[in-house]
């Protein structure tokens, strides 16, 4: 049995300990906001928070996630996260939207640790999150807008 605490709720799951956290979240628990894009930590669509840090759930075996606090896009409820989601909507960042859960999870991690990031800080923090629609200009702007709103 694997015990996972996702968005504050503990689930006891009869799954392979090597199963990536992504598939436990999606298939075993049924939360689908976290996306599969590459399976090898190349695109960031699967980004979730583990004990407050952004991780790629597609390469994190559930055995390593036991006993940790896992937050997915569905579980975001902090002031900071809401500011980011608001900024994302104010600037209409999204296009296809498939990567955006992961983008937002990475942006929350960034602003949690660095409330006033420089342009380079943003690019460095977000470089692991691919967006094939290339919404990058607006991602940068939305992070700055959120940082300003929170200041």
């Amino acid at each position: 049995m694997i015990e996972l605490t996702i968005n504050g709720q503990t689930h006891a799951l009869d799954i392979d300990p090597r199963m990536p956290l992504l598939w436990a979240i999606r298939d075993a628990i049924g939360l689908t906001g976290t996306k599969y894009g590459c399976g090898m930590s190349q695109c960031g669509a699967c980004t979730v928070h583990m004990d407050g840090k952004a991780v790629r759930s597609c390469v994190t075996p559930v055995s390593l996630a036991q006993g940790k606090q896992i937050i997915t896009i569905e579980g975001l409820d902090s002031t900071l996260a809401r500011a980011i989601q608001d900024a994302w909507q104010k600037l209409d960042v999204v296009q296809c939207g498939f990567c955006q859960s992961g983008q937002i999870m990475s942006a929350v991690d960034l602003l949690s640790n660095n409330p006033q990031p420089s342009d380079d800080d943003i690019d460095n923090a977000m470089n692991g999150n691919l967006c094939r629609c290339n919404t990058y200009v607006r991602i940068r702007a939305a992070i700055k807008l959120a940082a300003k709103a929170l200041a």
Binding site: E74, Q85, Q89, Q100, I104, N127, N134, V137, I139
Partner: protein, 742 residues
């Protein structure tokens, strides 16, 4: 793909009675509006949790609703649900189509919910494609422009008629704004919902008024996207997210080379994996069905498959390019011929030559291809981000031996497509349906391709080879232009072939070259079409993905040879193309064209028309001592006719440019002994945020012409603009994509 619809310029729709065309929504659905029973259905539709695609599930919202045509549902609770005939892949269609309807309906933007249309080629066809429902070619807004405004105006007319009857006032004294009907003199006001039931009893008007541009309240304004909230909160449902009772997940082992077949397979170890339920052989491979994706993947890893590669394609990209170069030595099939190129070339004061090489490209949308299929007693139900619903319906109906109407499609949000989900052979949809059929029963099957499956499945933008030759007279004026293209045809063998492959020339192989806008008296474009087992498909901006690069970098070379400024040189040759000239001048002006740049920096321009939209881009680059380079700023000017949603246009210009930039910097699919060398994002590199220009400015040309598409036209312009900027910085020309500076 032009129809009279496109000719419906705004000027033709000035206030006055218009005859409704056959494609008008109101005329189409006289049989659809239902009254009476059906409480159950109504309860279901009212409990719909989230505005979004696929929720309608093909069910027409009936009773108690005002459904004046195929596109509008107004309920007594004052919700206005608009039915979207085009799918949303990020391009902003749901926002754009809603704007057209809401404008003439005079609804409040906030009260509008959107829902994907069911698959129905009669009600929801693309007016540019005939009786076919589908999205592509940057046609969504253009083909809907008149149709959906008329649909909105018809509904408004019926609401007004109902209000006039109840209030006992003349119809022409009733105003409508932001979803409120009002009669000032009698001080009466009501929401749409109040008249939903009585408006439904009004006759659908045969003729409607449309607004004049100066009366627009929504068109031309920045409106929030309809899909923004759902996509910022993880609530938007993509195909990957479908969960159905009893559903199995299927992963398929595909052949390692195109044209290979299964010789034998052993599933003994695979079936031992916990969660694996079944293993079935299908024409395209071996499918492992399991309780979840991870188990299916483990099962696939444990499969032993022996492939028969006797008929498999085993060539490499380099070999193919050599063959293409050899072909180019011979004249091809003529696509355009003006004057006498040979004669003009022979007498030219100066001639220039260039040859360009373009690799295969994968669409590589963020959501790897997938499809959910359930075969049931009524036929078949599909959950998919369907881009060409009618084609998918027909393909699946043929496979299962059922009627097209028995294939129900729930169209979902697409996690990108860039053309891929409009596969002309419905490849991945058919694969999912084949697995469901092979498994048997009515089990829902969710087929998921891994990123590697998606990357290696073919249906690429083809490899191309171009040769150009031009002659200048002694004053530097181009007098001859010869352009030869070698590559695979996108349309041969597809439903579009009869329309777009003429006299051996696939229009999409030469578009952007055969309609070169520059005035050259002697001009010839010819084509060698190659036939290979590597599957190819349209890819965002189609033929322009390669022709824009070849023509716009070569014209830059000519300007340099003629010792003229690239903008001035182009301007002189664009006398008959005011829209090209307009965007070029606007981009140049906003970019500060002509201002000197510090050493190591360069500026370049490109201008190109695709899908009836003109785009010019000015790129500014910095080249470092180690030969690395960055794109610092891109200024974009676009003429897409009347701007329906300026912010969506800006977003498509930014994103479309970034999509093209990846082809200039890094993306390439290569074959080695027939095998695709790339597999995931580490070796098929798409643009990352660090590579996105720091500054992207978009300028929209003011226009009162009918709207044209914006999803694709920004993509092909950036690579030549960057190459020309790199030339400006380094003095070097670049004849291959992606660009290598060393």
């Amino acid at each position: 793909m032009e129809t009279d619809e496109k000719l419906n310029a705004i000027k033709m729709t000035r206030r006055g009675f218009l005859l409704t065309s056959v494609s008008m929504g109101a005329g189409l659905t006289l049989g659809v509006h239902l009254t009476g029973c059906g409480d159950k259905k109504e309860t279901q539709t009212q409990s719909r949790p989230e505005a979004g695609p696929g929720k309608a599930g093909g069910e027409m919202v009936s009773d108690f609703s005002f459904a004046p045509n195929a596109f509008i549902r107004i309920r007594p609770d004052n919700t206005v649900t608009l039915i979207m005939k085009h799918f949303e892949m990020g391009q902003g269609t749901y926002t754009g189509l809603s704007t057209l309807i809401a404008e003439e309906l005079d609804a409040a933007w906030e009260q509008i919910q959107v829902e994907a249309a069911p698959a129905n080629a009669k009600l929801y066809n693309n007016n540019f494609w005939g009786p076919m429902q589908g999205t592509g070619g940057s046609t969504a807004i253009a083909n809907s422009f008149t149709q959906l405004r008329k649909a909105g105006a018809a509904a408004r007319h019926m609401l007004v008629a109902a209000a006039a009857k109840q209030w006992k006032v003349p119809e022409n004294e009733i105003s409508v704004q932001d979803g409120i009907l009002a009669h000032a003199a009698s001080n009466q006001r009501a929401s749409f919902g109040v008249f939903a039931e009585s408006a439904a009893k009004e006759p659908v008007p045969a003729d409607v008024f449309l607004k004049e541009p100066d009366e627009f309240r929504l068109i031309g304004k920045t409106l929030p996207r309809k899909d923004s909230n759902a996509k910022c909160t993880g609530k938007a449902i993509f195909t990957q997210d479908i969960i159905l009772p009893g559903m199995l997940t299927a992963v398929v082992a595909h052949a390692p080379r195109f044209g290979a077949a299964i010789k034998s397979f052993d599933a003994t170890e695979c079936k031992k994996i916990q969660g694996v339920v079944n293993v079935v052989q299908i024409p395209t491979g071996i499918a492992v069905l399991a309780q979840d994706f991870w188990s299916a993947l483990q099962g696939r890893n444990a499969l032993q498959v022996e492939w028969d590669e006797s008929a498999a394609f085993k060539k490499s990209s380099a070999e193919l390019m050599d063959e293409y170069k050899a072909l180019a030595k011979q004249p091809g099939t003529v696509a355009r011929k003006d004057g006498d190129v040979d004669k003009a070339m022979a007498t030219a004061a100066k001639t220039l030559r260039a040859a360009y090489e373009f690799p295969y490209l994968a669409h590589a949308a963020m959501e790897p291809l997938n499809c959910v299929v359930q075969i049931n007693a009524h036929g078949c139900e599909i959950w998919n981000a369907a881009q060409t619903q009618t084609a998918d319906q027909m393909a699946v109906a043929r496979l299962l031996g059922i009627e097209v109407g028995q294939v129900k499609i729930n169209t979902l949000y697409a996690g990108g497509s860039f053309g891929r989900r409009a596969n002309p052979f419905s490849d991945y949809v058919l694969e999912a349906a084949t697995i469901a059929k092979a498994h048997g029963g009515n089990t829902p099957v969710k087929m998921l391709w891994t990123r590697e499956d998606d990357m290696r499945a073919g249906y690429y933008r083809p490899m191309y080879y171009h040769e150009l030759k031009a002659g200048l007279d002694k004053n530097g004026n181009p007098v001859a232009w010869q352009h030869r293209i070698v590559g695979q045809s996108l349309l041969t063998g597809t439903a579009f072939e009869p329309m777009l492959v003429k006299n051996g020339v696939d229009a999409t192989s030469v578009e952007g070259a055969s309609n070169l806008p520059y005035a050259v008296p002697n001009l010839q474009v010819d084509l060698h079409t190659t036939t290979l087992p590597v599957p190819v498909q349209w890819w965002r901006s189609v033929g322009s993905t390669h022709t824009a690069y070849a023509t716009e970098t070569f014209i830059d070379e000519l300007a340099h040879a003629a010792k003229q400024d690239p903008v001035e040189f182009r301007r002189a040759m664009l006398k008959d193309h005011p829209r090209h000239r307009g965007v070029m001048e606007l981009a140049a002006e906003k970019a500060g064209w002509g201002q000197t740049l510090p050493k190591g920096k360069g500026r370049g321009i490109a201008v190109h028309e695709s899908f009836n939209t003109c785009v010019a881009q000015v790129a500014e680059v910095t080249v470092n001592d180690d030969n690395s380079f960055s794109i610092d700023r891109v200024v974009i000017a676009v003429d897409c006719g009347l701007a329906i949603n300026p912010d969506v246009i800006r977003a498509q210009m930014e994103g479309g440019m970034g999509f093209g930039l990846a082809t200039a910097l890094s993306s390439a699919i290569t074959l080695k002994d027939g095998k695709v060398e790339q597999s995931n994002f580490h070796d098929y590199q798409i643009l990352r945020i660090k590579q996105m220009p720091k500054q992207v400015d978009v300028h929209i040309v003011k226009s009162d012409q009918p709207p044209t598409g914006v999803g694709e036209p920004a993509t092909p312009v950036i690579a030549p603009a960057v190459a020309n900027a790199l030339f400006n910085a380094t003095g070097k020309r670049f004849y291959q994509l992606p660009i290598k500076l060393t």
